[in-house]
């Protein structure tokens, strides 16, 4: 018989062992899938996971993909610690991109050091408002934030689509649903001579450090964590649940919005109907891969970003559909959640007693 027993003592490294086991299981399962397609797992894995990183271009692309994942992952880690399940970071990212992009277009051709900060502020506010809606509905009517934030994602995507098909469409763009290209003062500088890695990655690193500080030193971070761990004890301590819900969703919204505007000004350079390959959803995986530790979001974000590159590489060199990225990410989240049981429990084989 197999028994699952609570661990008497849990140590900090147990959670990282669980992560490691999840990674191993993911790679093993991916190998089995590749083998079932008649491919050699070792050389295939090398081709899709290692070779894309063999050039400055590859690394630069990796950083570009990791930027929104890390930025949003940090904010989600804070919220998830508080037990507030903001599943709509994707919508908040889109709203941020849309609002920031609209500011960039409004000041099109205007030069000045203040243009870029204004654009970033616009995007941040857009995301903030989008995060405030589920917060308000949760606090006022106890509406489930998972459903509300998720559904608002589709509203945001459609809103972006309406705008780029209509008011924000490039007048000289032959009716393509795209905005004008942003001018230089409204574009974030690139980090390397090759690839799309941009200044946003530096912002992402700063967010991770800031997030760690909030968790470790700020009373607000403690308050949110306590509320997530035990609402009853939080109430006895004098912490307000409503405040935690507001803070978690406002931080999540604002930071996701920031990630959105950074994505359009740093990476895409214009508004298009589809500005994110589900970064907002994938960031949920990143946050859990990092076990909700803001600093650990950096390696987690880089790893998951690699899965995007791997999907492209798989398509190009192995002829597998790019959707294999999602298979890989799904496997990873599945094993992560499964192995998290091992943090507080251990498995024992044997008889009763």
């Amino acid at each position: 018989m197999i028994f699952v027993e609570a661990r008497a003592v849990t140590r900090w490294y147990h959670e990282w062992i669980a992560v490691l086991i999840a990674l191993i299981l993911t790679v093993a399962t991916a190998s089995a899938l590749l083998a079932s397609l008649g491919l050699d797992p070792v050389s295939s894995l090398h081709r899709i996971f290692i070779r894309p990183l063999n050039s400055v271009y590859g690394v630069s692309e990796l950083l570009a993909k990791a930027t929104p994942l890390i930025t949003i992952g940090v904010a989600l880690a804070l919220g998830f610690r508080a037990g507030v399940w903001n599943i709509g970071a994707e919508g908040q990212l889109v709203m941020g991109g849309l609002c920031g992009g609209a500011v960039a277009l409004a000041f099109w051709g205007v030069d000045g050091f203040w243009v870029m900060p204004l654009i970033l502020l616009g995007g941040t506010l857009g995301g903030l408002v989008w995060g405030a809606i589920p917060a308000f509905l949760k606090v006022r009517f106890n509406a489930n934030e998972i459903l509300v934030s998720l559904m608002l994602t589709y509203v945001a995507i459609l809103m972006l689509s309406v705008m780029v098909h209509g008011p924000l469409r490039d007048p000289a763009g032959f009716n393509f649903p795209e905005s004008r290209l942003f001018h230089d003062a409204a574009t974030l500088p690139k980090l390397f001579s090759a690839g799309r890695g941009h200044l946003g990655f530096v912002f992402a690193l700063m967010f991770a450090v800031l997030g760690t500080w909030v968790v470790k030193r700020w009373h607000l971070g403690f308050e949110m964590r306590v509320t997530g761990l035990s609402p009853t004890a939080a109430k006895f301590a004098g912490y307000s649940r409503d405040r935690t819900v507001w803070m978690a969703l406002l931080i999540g919204g604002a930071v996701s919005g920031f990630a959105g505007v950074v994505e359009v000004t740093g990476n895409i350079g214009q508004l298009v109907p589809n500005i994110s390959p589900s970064y907002g959803f994938t960031a949920i995986i990143v946050a859990f891969l990092a076990r909700l530790h803001p600093l650990a979001v950096i390696p987690a974000g880089l790893l998951v970003a690699l899965s995007y590159l791997a999907g492209e590489a798989a398509q190009l060199s192995l002829g597998i559909p790019a959707a294999s990225t999602q298979v890989f990410q799904g496997l990873l989240l599945f094993f992560l959640l499964g192995t998290s049981l091992l943090v507080n429990y251990r498995i024992r084989f044997g008889r009763i007693g």
Binding site: V226, A233, G353
Partner: protein
């Protein structure tokens, strides 16, 4: 010749002995929960298993009931080797157990609950007739068609006992059966147990209430640190000598030192309110709450669990606030509209009943748990925003040293401490904040005798230093020895308040059942 004598001896011994346990040991890792335990229970005997929390009583009965497997040793039941693989094995062999936490289904009727506990039986009239007969024989009154969620704790326990008795057990194990009962209900239970023992059934009675054991039991096996330390006749012992044998050292008497009447000033805290509705519908609604407590005195609120104590605690601590500020007055200041944090600033501190998950967070370390309620003292919070880990650790360290909290370090998680040590830490955390009013609920629930004594001394010291203490408790002995004045709560209604000197356990029992008494 010698062989036949031996057989005759064994037969006579076995006809008398119901359960024999020899050299039983059980290890969890390196920890010996039971070491070389020997126990003998005669037919028709009520045998007490006495010991502090963690002494190994539960481990022993779990092995007898087939929940745990012993590592070494052997058992005999009715002169046959006995090694149950599971509780259902134990049941078939004639062993029944009534747990401290009832395993009944709230949404089902009493009859349905009993039928569920019996293999292959249905809640039909045949079963109902059999149950009625059993109830009649043992004077266990309960209505079969009522739903369990309408029943009080005493009645639920009767359902459990009937369920076990329907299996006609030779040996019945009861785990702290009186912890949820009023004195009157306890009397009823004892009558039932006496009748069972008259029929020749044996009973293992787990308790740490020494008075009960002396009144009820024929023999007592005392356990300490996983070992049997003595087997005594409890009727030949005093409560005190039993207690000393149980914890292995001499107890100092706790008795409230009398505060001179001149010291008793006018009320520091007054509560006067009509109906109070709790946020959760599971908690009891309070009606007509009136209480007041003077500086330097301890007010006891007795009552059977689930009669509104939770709502009352929330009302006092500020987790439940009222629209009319004047409903609660502290030192002349209306505070009923203020939340927990503001009341704490005014000196109203507390320690709720549920230590893990209400007073403290199990996953956090001790010093992090300090931040929950003591963050506005000693510079733990800088500029209202930054947490000073150094200050919080210093605070935790002071609590640990001052109140003799046994813990490997202040980085230990709250969940890793024993009940008594955690409670000392939690009360100490508030005590260092110098409370004006201290509200505490069941502080010694599940706490060993030594820590219990220490906690009582902490509460009395607090009162001696001028604080007003409100002690909500189910433990009558505790209330009678610690408090100055006493009242009871029943169905959300508070009784009148009486001086503790004039109170007897019988009077208090009547108050707990909602009967008013004259004094």
């Amino acid at each position: 010749m010698t062989e036949s004598v031996a057989i005759a001896e064994r037969l006579s011994a076995s006809s008398k002995q119901c359960l024999g346990v020899r050299g039983l040991s059980k290890y969890f890792g390196d920890f010996a929960a039971n070491r070389d335990v020997t126990l003998s229970v005669d037919a028709g005997e009520i045998h007490a298993l006495l010991g502090e929390n963690g002494a190994g009583k539960s481990t022993l009965v779990k092995m007898i009931y087939g929940i745990l497997k012993p590592d070494t040793g052997s058992m005999e039941l009715l002169a046959k080797p006995y090694s149950p693989d599971s509780p259902s094995d134990a049941k078939h062999s004639g062993v029944g157990m009534v747990f401290q936490h009832f395993a009944v289904f709230d949404a089902l009727t009493v009859l349905e609950n009993i039928a569920l506990g019996l293999e292959g039986r249905f809640p039909d009239e045949i079963l109902a007739a059999e149950i009625a007969e059993v109830c009649d024989r043992y004077r266990l009154h309960v209505e079969l068609n009522r739903r369990v969620h309408d029943l009080g704790a005493g009645e639920r326990q009767r359902v459990e006992i009937i369920r076990v008795l329907m299996q006609d057990p030779r040996l019945l194990i009861l785990d702290e059966p009186t912890s949820v009962l009023t004195p009157q209900e306890t009397e009823q239970l004892f009558t039932t147990l006496d009748r069972l023992s008259d029929e020749g059934r044996s009973i293992i009675y787990i308790s740490h209430k020494l008075d009960e054991v002396r009144a009820l039991c024929d023999r007592a096996t005392l356990m300490r640190a996983g070992q049997v330390v003595d087997v005594v006749d409890p009727r030949q012992e005093s409560t005190r000598s039993l207690g000393e044998k149980m914890i292995g050292e001499r107890l100092t008497e706790t008795k409230r030192s009398k505060v001179s009447s001149a010291e008793k000033k006018k009320a520091r805290l007054t509560v006067r309110v009509g109906d109070v509705y709790p946020e959760s519908t599971r908690n009891v609604v309070l009606n007509d709450v009136y209480l007041s407590v003077a500086p330097g005195s301890i007010l006891g609120i007795s009552g059977v669990s689930g009669n509104g104590q939770d709502t009352l605690f929330d009302l006092l601590s500020g987790e439940l606030i009222l629209p009319n500020p004047d409903s609660i007055v502290l030192d002349g200041e209306p505070i009923a509209h203020l939340g927990v944090e503001k009341r704490r600033f005014l000196g109203l501190l507390g320690a709720p009943e549920n230590r893990l998950g209400h007073a403290a967070i199990p996953e956090l370390t001790l010093w992090e748990n300090v931040i929950l309620t003591a963050r506005h003292t000693r510079g733990i919070l800088k500029n209202d925003h930054l947490i000073s880990g150094t200050s919080a650790k210093a605070f935790a360290d002071e609590v640990i040293k001052t109140f003799d909290v046994r813990t490997p370090s202040l980085n230990a998680k709250a969940s890793s401490l024993s009940g008594g040590n955690l409670q000392k830490f939690l009360i100490g955390r508030e005590l260092l904040g110098q409370p004006k009013v201290f509200v505490v609920s069941n502080p010694t629930w599940g706490v060993d005798a030594k820590a219990q004594l220490f906690i009582h001394q902490m509460l009395m010291k607090m009162a001696d230093e001028g604080a007003s203490v409100i002690l909500i408790s189910q433990d009558i002995d505790e209330l009678l020895s610690v408090t100055d004045r006493i009242c009871a709560i029943c169905h959300g209604r508070l009784s009148r308040t009486f001086p503790t000197d004039e109170m007897t356990p019988e009077h208090l029992g009547a108050l707990m059942l909602g009967q008013e008494i004259d004094s």
